[in-house]
Amino acid sequence: MVAISKIATGNGHGENSPYFDGWKAYETNPFHPKDRPDGVIQMGLAENQLCFNFIKKWVMEHPEASLCSAQGVAKFKETALFQDYHGMPEFRQAVAKFMGKVRGDRVKFDPDRVVMSGGATGAHEMVAFCLADPGEAFLVPTPYYPGFDRDLRWRTGVELVPVVCESSNDFKITRNALETAYEKAKEANLRVKGLLITNPSNPLGTILDRETLKGIVKFINEKNIHLIGDEIYAATVFMEPEFVSISEIIEEVECNRDLIHIVYSLSKDMGFPGFRVGIVYSYNDAVVSCARKMSSFGLVSSQTQHLIASMLSDDGFVDSFIVESKDRLFKRHKYFTWSLSQVGIGSLKSNAGLFIWMDLRKLLKEKTFEAEMDLWRVIINEVKLNVSPGSSFHCNEPGWFRVCFANMDDHTMEVALLRIRTFMLKHNEAMVPQKLCRRSSLKLSLSRRRDGFMSPSIMSPQSPLVRAIN
């Protein structure tokens, strides 16, 4: 009996990683303020839920953007028929403009270089297909988003070689680390085709400074390899220092532009993962041409293109949204990190993203990944929070955890913080009983709760592994 493919039966989908195990735990016992107050709180999903009321208001006020409403139906037929893989011009223009605005209009993006894809997931796979043959490799700084193992490698046959970054210098990407990784690939007989950076970083929540970016651009030009900049968190930079995009750097230093490609999406910046709006933006004409043909495998629904085109061409809305979103992220981040510090939990200093890189190294029984897994199981099963262990991000040092803060309402955040406090108090008592007992009278002010920002109970599943409640 003929088998199915190795790709289908193997583990290349990456779902056996602990990153997904936590989601499974959440799935079997999800938190709900009324129905399941003791359930697991999802802090492992990098979603941006803070601005929906703002966006919803725009949607209500613009029924024509919804295509099928009475105001929009005149465009229904032509939109429903539109399957041109170039994408709707209005869509590309609106996206290019948005990308520019998110970068403070310091650079302009050409709508003709905007290529659609099935989310950033589809974009990454597509870029890998365009730039590398099976058996070739990309360098990726650690820690990195676990999904890359699937997106860049699974069906493409491309390998990933880690550029190891260390906590000793806040996980900066050094020239040394890049060179080491490049040599390692050579030793393993892997031809390096490119370097993939995520900026702002997932899971770190930090941005790359100008010097590092220039150094990276210099490195890839010297080695004549591609640079893929995943900038899907660009609009989540909520405080100084200001975001610097690769698109800006290449205006400042000498660079072969045929090597530069950007992956973008609306899933994080706008909070629209369900709409599957992924973008490949390349400065290389041949890549744009090839990617465009490949985009047939993951075009954006024209219904969605229409909505996004309407929304993002509304300059007033976009400008307000960008400011409002940053403000809400800033406040949420500040409150969350401050609350953690009150119970002795630190995190990497960050100014972007939908998560923090939490430092629990001192809670480890020993400096091993086994100990990290043990701690993680405690956090899931006892503290009842789904957080993501650093090992699933290929971090070289145990004890770090990514914790998402933008995918829940204020009330849920308070419950999560309370659980963390309780856990830390127990832990601190166990460690240093006398000194910290006084902390039991800790009363964190709850007046920081945002007014009018209680969203209705979260009903939808938030991970690809959770079946929809309908």
């Binding site: 003929v2 199915i4 493919s5 190795k6 790709i7 289908a8 929906f52 966006i55 949607v59 209500m60 029924p63 295509l67 099928c68 009475a70 929009g72 139906v73 229904f76 939109t79 429903a80 028929l81 539109f82 399957q83 099935g118 989310g119 589809g122 796979e125 297909f129 365009c130 730039l131 069906r155 085709k193 390899i225 072969n256 045929d258 899933s267 909070g271 993962p273 369900g274 709409f275 599957r276 290389n284 041949a286 090839c290 043909k293 047939s296 495998f297 075009l299 954006v300 629904s301 024209s302 219904q303 969605t304 909505l307 009903m459 939808s460 991970s463 690809p464 592994l465 929809a468 309908n470």
Partner: protein
Amino acid sequence: MGVLSRKATCNSHGQDSSYFLGWQEYEKNPYDEVTNPHGIIQMGLAENQLSFDLLESWLAKNPDAASFRRDGQSIFKELALFQDYHGLPAFKNALVDFMAEIRGNKVTFDPNHIVLTAGATSANETLMFCLAEQGDAFLLPTPYYPGFDRDLKWRTGVEIVPIECTSSNRFQITASALEKAYEQAQKKNLRVKGVLVTNPSNPLGTSMTRDELDLLVNFISDKEIHLISDEIYSGTVFSSPAFVSIMEVLKDRNLEKTEVWERVHIVYSLSKDLGLPGFRVGAIYSNDPIVVAAATKMSSFGLVSSQTQYLLSAMLSDKKFTKEYIAKNHKRLQKRRSKLVAGLEKAGIGCLESNAGLFCWVDMRHLLSSDTFEAEMELWKRIVYDVKLNISPGSSCHCIEPGWFRVCFANMSEDTLKLAMQRLKSFVGSIAVNDRSHRDLKNSRRKFRTKWVFRLSFQSFHDREQDER
């Protein structure tokens, strides 16, 4: 320059095919009734534009579905966040019901066995990734949809080996053609992983007979390989014989829960049946849970927008609407097809008798200057550039006989179709005087084979036959 991948620099995307070049010519000079009445009329695009009014009136009656609301409440946020690759249950339920309805409810489908993908384009590629290794092969009956060269082969590295079908028996699949293809693959050292058929056929517009389906089941049983049935045109079967799905055949032969059962997979889409190619709604249906699991994970690379899933779940759950839509759509397609056939007849052109699809498989062999593909290309260029009709030459569909063309009829207004037929008639008339007598002698050899197969009932051709007899 940093070198690109081989996939990026080769031609396997298939876009240098004449199929796509015709489109490019059309893009440069597209017909418009008012602004460009002498432009090229698009007859190379298999779209269904006949029933939009039905969709629009449904939308008017169901404002909630259209605008992110359910029972008056906004569900914008929930939809915007919904990226579960298992898909919206309500949509999958509605979709499988719709698929069953199209098959006269003779079979039912399990929503847990369906995987949503970004169009049939993505579904076909995903199935290749799931079922075959690089270098393996799938057998496909010719003529076939040109896009398969890209969808099945480009990024997967899978090969296609043709099952050659001819006009001698209406291009039906025969046992010997299947065996011949299988042997061809073996000679090339290609491991055959399965057969992929399109039923109803693109470009033929015919639905497969029960005999053909039985033949296929026997073949894949015997060789222990997969069968993919691309049934994206199943809802366009507008006249008898009624559509018979591969699932029905398996059921009738009591093959459920056997090994063969798990090797049969269906590809579906709403691009043709509902005329919504822009919404990118495709699906894989497999009886093998491992394939379903793998394909589901792969669908991450091309999920269906939640906004679209929600709209269509509401639409397809409205059984009154789907019943009415299917019936009216069939009537309109049938009517439109007869207009095309009548127009062709007036131009002295016949076509394969068909009961489905959005196109006809048109026989222009008698207009060729020679029985060659060069002559076919020559004729095609004249039709595109002089007659200003973009139709698809059979060679782009890998037909082994020159002279056949796919002509679409559902993607334009009735007036435009009429104009296209007038242009064609004038063109044929103009070449008849010069070329026909010369070619008749060549054609008489083929005559006896084809005469009894085709319904070519127009005056001029009959006259010619009588002369030759």
